[in-house]
């Protein structure tokens, strides 16, 4: 199953995604099915502010989680997961800025990567939750790089939502379902 979860900054989207992933994991365990719960952190510990955010999110999560820190290449990691695993990617926006501005990947390559993630989730039958940000509802930026980033992010969102079973927008911690429902 593929879930797409988005929302504004500090909207509670990560918390909601974590709770959802955890409940999937517990349900599978109750049915005595094998499952592992993974958290893929795309943010780098680049500065104090980021470290604080990371600490804040880590304290929020329990001991059921295995954390993988990877800022760029998610595909090799995803290809190792097995049927019934629950994987949370937090978050798409940071990953995109990493591959776009540090690795300077072009849009086509970026889209291919994300399509591969989605393909792997279907193929290997693990549960994939992707967290992202709604950043496109303000006054459009006149900066070319920001525009390109926003355009690419929105294309990825639409691709993911199209292939998702559930798409939720979180506001003040409460999910609003645009597709499917939990």
């Amino acid at each position: 199953m593929i879930l797409f979860i988005s929302g504004g900054a500090r909207s509670g989207k990560s918390h909601f995604a974590e709770q959802t992933a955890l409940s999937f994991f517990h349900k599978l365990k109750e049915k005595h099915q094998r499952s592992s719960l993974y958290y893929i952190a795309t943010a780098k510990k680049s500065d104090d502010e980021m470290e604080e955010r990371i600490r804040f999110h880590q304290q929020d999560r329990g001991k059921e989680w295995q954390t993988v820190e990877e800022s760029f290449h998610l595909e090799p990691i995803l290809s190792q997961f097995k049927k019934g695993d629950v994987i949370l990617i937090d978050c798409l926006t940071i990953w995109l800025s990493n591959v776009m501005f540090e690795l300077e990947h072009r849009m086509e390559r970026i889209e291919n990567s994300v399509n591969r993630w989605l393909y792997l989730a279907h193929e290997k039958q693990f549960h994939l939750l992707i967290v992202s940000n709604d950043v496109n509802e303000g006054i459009p930026s006149t900066d070319e790089a920001v525009q390109r980033y926003m355009y690419t992010l929105q294309r990825l969102h639409q691709t993911i939502v199209q292939q998702s079973d559930i798409a939720a927008q979180v506001q003040a911690g409460i999910p609003m379902y645009w597709k499917g429902e939990i």
Partner: protein, 142 residues
């Protein structure tokens, strides 16, 4: 009249095009002016007008106050409504949601943001259908 509103690159056109029928597009992104609808609207087609934030922005260059600009767009909506009835066709307005980010630093951008919000509210009040678009999906608000 239908209003389709959503953020940048959220799939608004795709949502509009998912409906059957032929369309006459009047687009500020293609350099069209708001008044071009009269010449561009082909008989028997749905008129789609997009790029309102650009049309509003160009009004900001003129020496009009906010109320005058807002009134000007209200008049346009009224004319469109009347013509929609006359022709017995449909009109779809596509608008950009610009009000949910951080307060812009520049005065002109704040003014544009305010006007775009007010004019969207005016468009809502004259539309019988309003849809919000998010990542290629839409929800009916009215």
């Amino acid at each position: 009249m239908q209003l389709v509103i959503g953020g940048a690159f959220s799939g608004k056109r795709k949502v509009v095009k998912a409906n059957n029928g032929t369309f006459s597009w009047v687009s500020a992104y293609e350099g069209d002016r708001v008044g071009d609808w009269e010449a561009k609207w082909e008989n028997g087609s749905t008129l789609v007008m997009e790029g309102w934030e650009k049309w509003i922005a160009s009004e900001l260059q003129n020496d009009e106050n906010n109320d005058e600009i807002r009134r000007g767009f209200k008049t346009i909506f009224k004319t469109l409504l009347k013509e929609e009835k006359n022709r017995n066709n449909r009109i779809v307005l596509i608008m950009l949601e610009v009000g949910k980010g951080i307060v812009p630093l520049h005065k002109d951008e704040r003014r544009l943001r305010d006007l775009a919000g007010w004019i969207a509210q005016d468009a809502v009040s004259v539309s019988d259908e309003v849809d919000f678009v998010w990542n290629g999906l839409s929800k009916r608000l009215k």
